[in-house]
């Protein structure tokens, strides 16, 4: 295997998990998320010789998010899956409630708004970086983030959601 190819394999293995999860946050569908990440990585590989010395991860992330904004027009919802999210909460019920709460918040946003929220709060990019990656103004990023946070406030916390469901 050529050196560039070996580098790409290493890069793809390291980057794929976060790319898939970002795509999942934007689509609510794990299988679609994997397809989108695969597409982004394929395009990244097609340009590998040009970008390998630069910000390859940023390139893949940008391709992924723009691909999803352009192509993913279906409303977000939670799709049944046998996989369980990482257990950082105390129990599975909490984790499931958190995921539902999160997808409900993201589902109330448009694809571009979701992309802004994911880039801003999952990838922790600055407002200027998000604006650059999506080709929108910094003002749009600010207003979208603020709208998303309002929806977040009105939806309550994941914990309250669990109690509400149990009643």
């Amino acid at each position: 295997m050529a050196r560039g190819d070996a580098e790409f394999v290493e890069f793809a293995r390291a980057a794929s998990r976060r790319l898939v999860h970002a795509a999942y946050l934007m689509t609510g569908d794990h299988h679609q998320a994997e397809d989108a990440a695969q597409t982004a990585l394929a395009r990244t590989y097609a340009s590998w010789s040009r970008i390998r010395e630069g910000d390859a991860y940023g390139y893949a992330r940008s391709v992924l998010v723009n691909h999803l904004v352009d192509r993913w027009r279906r409303p977000i919802r939670e799709y049944p899956t046998e996989d369980l999210p990482e257990q950082r909460a105390d129990d599975v019920a909490d984790a499931v409630a958190t995921r539902r709460w999160l997808l409900a918040i993201l589902g109330a946003l448009s694809p571009r708004e979701r992309a802004i929220v994911v880039l801003r709060y999952y990838f922790d990019l600055s407002e200027a970086q998000v604006a650059r990656e999506l080709g929108v103004s910094v003002g749009t990023v600010k207003s979208t983030s603020s709208r998303a946070l309002e929806k977040l406030r009105s939806s309550g916390s994941p914990a309250r959601e669990v109690h509400g469901t149990c009643r």
Binding site: D5, A12, S16, L19, L41, Y59, L102
Partner: protein
């Protein structure tokens, strides 16, 4: 914990524990195919028929192919491959002079020595498509003021004033003349036209047609988008930044 921290935490807490089932070998196969397609496009093999078909005056001077075998591009947003279709009479009429521009000839500021790249609309007559009456030419204005047509695109279905993007011209670099930048027209109140390639956004230059302000002629700076590189997508925005 405030709402923002909650959101961040929730995004991380829902990460998957299992390995992402990305097939890296399949990714690389797809990537290689993509790379090959780009190279083909760059060398002009993929769109050879297309370039000959719509490069009308060049074809006439060099005794181009049988007009019945000519094709016109069918690439509009989202971008697609060219398909063989009926050609406008313009392409098929060897004896007739090149049609006169309708309205103002748009100057691009792109120069090839003494020549300047220009865009203009011409009348076309496409069999069975009475509502397609105009085509867009990427031509050159020579130092003597003569207009030379390099590449013509026109609709191959529907009507030429339908709102939205119409056929997009993808020229290819060749030895006989400079390649035209990727170009086309949009019908509607577009203030900004943005193409995407590999996640990179490229803003097109644009000008309204003198005969119908709804017709927005656009082209991509060849330094930002080399001729032959196909767009992954293209969008238009109005004066308020809304997508049209």
């Amino acid at each position: 914990m405030n709402e923002l921290e909650q959101l961040r935490e929730a995004m991380r807490a829902t990460e998957w524990t299992g390995r992402a089932s990305i097939d890296v070998a399949a990714v690389m196969r797809t990537g290689r195919r993509l790379r090959r397609r780009r190279r083909l496009a760059a060398t002009g093999v993929a769109a050879l028929a297309l370039a000959v078909a719509v490069g009308v005056p060049v074809g006439l001077r060099s005794g181009g192919p049988d007009p019945s075998r000519r094709a016109v591009p069918a690439a509009s947003a989202p971008v697609e491959r060219p398909t063989p279709t009926p050609t406008p009479d313009l392409a098929a009429t060897r004896a007739e002079p090149a049609p006169r521009p309708i309205g103002t000839v748009v100057r691009s500021g792109i120069r090839y020595g003494a020549d300047e790249r220009v865009f203009y609309l011409v009348p076309v007559d496409v069999p069975d498509l009475p509502q397609v009456t105009i085509g867009l030419v990427a031509g050159r204005r020579t130092a003597t003021g003569e207009l030379v047509s390099d590449y013509l695109v026109n609709d191959v279905s529907g009507r030429d004033r339908r709102p939205g993007f119409h056929e997009i011209g993808y020229d290819e670099p060749g030895p006989s003349r400079p390649a035209a930048p990727t170009f086309g027209y949009f019908v509607g109140p577009a203030e900004q036209i943005i193409g995407t390639v590999d996640g990179r956004e490229i803003v097109a230059r644009q000008a309204r047609w003198s005969e119908d302000a709804q017709v927005v002629i656009f082209w991509f700076d060849p330094k930002a988008l080399p001729p032959g590189v196909r767009l992954d997508g293209i969008i238009a925005r109005d004066a308020h930044g809304r997508r049209l």
